[in-house]
């Protein structure tokens, strides 16, 4: 809560919390803050709460109201402002305690030191930053590539390419297992980068074609592409997940 400290000769006489919509100051007893001194007018000034903060307003006093030694009519108050009425001063303390002074800048060699956010702080910050789709959520909404066997020997008719890297070949870990007698261990690799799929050939692998064009290095796949790997014909398609 904002407060006013009434001071005289640098002595704090009173501490007044600013609770109501206004605090009237004057010599007469009907004021919220009575200062019994001939230099103070009957109804001298008031501190009023308005949108945007507290204001000090002179109520037509004889000797005037001073904010930080400047005569004012109505002026917004900042934290630690000093309002002078006669020989008394009112020190305004704002609602929020002043932020602690920033930590002294670290030594040059320390200024780049990496810091870790602890979990609580991190969650707080992430919340403040707002949410973005995590990769997993985004992936769920993305289309998934499928390979359908058109002709040739493989262990299934259709493959959903959910993995990041899918090997076509005879090896045990291959996603798309070729079952032909002479099929190579690792004939081609399909990798998923975000929403896109790329086909690449391992070094020493036999020719791979996409729509009858030989693949050099790697090539991005498009919906409907026909891929030929080790004599097996596949069609590549992009579908919604699980469809």
């Amino acid at each position: 809560m904002a407060k006013i400290f009434l001071k005289f000769n640098e002595q704090v006489l009173k501490e007044i919390p600013l609770e109501g919509p206004q605090l009237t100051i004057g010599r007469k007893p009907d004021n919220d803050l009575v200062i019994d001194n001939p230099a103070v007018s009957g109804h001298h000034a008031r501190v009023v709460k308005e949108e945007g903060g507290f204001f000090v307003e002179d109520l037509g006093s004889t000797n005037g109201t001073f904010l930080n030694d400047v005569k004012v009519q109505k002026q917004k108050l900042k934290n630690t402002d000093r309002v002078s009425i006669g020989k008394h001063s009112l020190i305004f303390q704002d609602e929020v305690a002043p932020p602690p002074p920033p930590p002294p800048p670290p030594k040059e060699s320390e200024s780049d030191k990496t810091m870790i956010l602890d979990t609580a702080k991190q969650k707080e910050l992430m919340k403040a930053l707002g949410t973005v789709k995590t990769a997993a959520v985004a992936a769920k909404e993305e289309k998934v590539g499928w390979l359908t066997v058109v002709t040739g020997d493989a262990d299934k008719k259709e493959y959903e390419l959910t993995g990041r890297l899918n090997v076509i070949g005879k090896e045990d870990t291959a996603t798309i297992k070729l079952t032909g007698w002479l099929a190579p261990k690792n004939a081609a690799m399909l990798s998923r980068r975000g929403p896109a799929y790329f086909i690449s050939m391992p070094e020493g692998a036999k020719k791979i074609t996409v729509n009858d064009e030989a693949v050099q290095g790697q090539r991005e796949l498009q919906d409907g592409d026909i891929i030929v790997v080790a004599g097996v014909h596949f069609q590549f398609s992009l579908k919604g997940p699980g469809k």
Partner: protein, 269 residues
């Protein structure tokens, strides 16, 4: 497959300790860079523990294919990638255990970026702001996205890349080993091609040296070791504010040589 590796770590010009650690285990196909943090010498302890734990887990897995995994198997990725994630989770546990036993090491942590090669497949795992880049032909592309406050802000469109570079908060990371009971390891895998270079580095390099400069340095040097030395020189020339660690793995020949090919090569030589 023939690969060549260069590696270098350097304390830099402003720090008294090198808190980075690295592991080059070509026999395991494993490469790791860790950038430790924490008071006194705890950062060094955390990063060393991490590389040691990861390497040990890979060794144990090579000797015993049925070695259990720490954490769940993610079917999106290959066995090697899952093994890498498992090793990093164990490293997180090792750091926390050590920190509990020694109060002076409380709060220590480390980043990790690691690569595992299994034939033509590169497994990628990282936590924090140590990075991996793919150098292919005349291009350089990031393989990891920093777990840092500014990177999050860039992803949310709140900062541009340039603003992130200048931000005083760029040293705040959002994930690290040693912080929490569990660690979220980001995984990926890609097929490699002949001539590819894979660069692992701590932020000491990327703070001062741009990707274009990195690419240029790698392209100028013939050998990965020369390139690694050059990259550290560049980081120090840019101020050397932090420790810098780099590992550069270059795929020189993709083909696995059968006995006939070896015989043929021998005859030709």
């Amino acid at each position: 497959m023939v690969i060549a590796v260069g590696a270098k770590t350097d304390v830099g010009l402003k720090r008294s300790h090198n808190e980075d650690n690295l592991c080059v285990a070509a026999d395991l196909g494993l490469y790791v860079v860790c950038d430790g943090m924490g008071g006194r010498n705890a950062g060094e302890v955390a990063s060393r523990l991490a590389v040691e734990t990861i390497q040990k887990h890979f060794q144990a897995a090579r000797d015993n294919a049925d070695l259990p995994l720490s954490g769940d198997y993610d079917r999106q990725f290959s066995a090697t990638t899952n093994r890498l994630a498992s090793a990093i989770r164990l490293a997180n546990h090792a750091i926390r255990t050590e920190a509990k036993e020694h109060t002076s090491q409380e709060g220590m942590g480390t980043t990790v970026v690691s690569a595992a090669l299994n034939g033509p497949v590169l497994s990628i795992a990282h936590v924090g702001d140590s990075r991996m880049y793919l150098i292919r032909g005349e291009s350089i592309a990031p393989l990891t996205a920093d777990h840092s406050l500014v990177a999050e802000q860039v992803r949310r469109g709140m900062l541009t890349e340039e603003e992130a570079e200048r931000s005083p908060q760029k040293n705040i990371i959002t994930r690290a080993l040693g912080v929490d009971e569990t660690v979220d390891v980001e995984l990926d895998e890609i097929p490699l091609m002949q001539g590819d270079g894979v660069l692992l580095c701590s932020d000491g390099l990327t703070r001062g040296v741009s990707p274009a400069q990195i690419l240029d340095a790698i392209r100028r040097e013939k050998e990965p070791q020369g390139a690694s030395d050059r990259l550290v020189e560049l980081a120090n020339a840019a101020g050397g504010l932090d420790n810098t660690t780099v590992i550069l793995v270059v795929i020189q020949d993709m083909a696995s040589q059968g006995p006939w090919q070896r015989a043929w090569k021998w005859l030709l030589s």
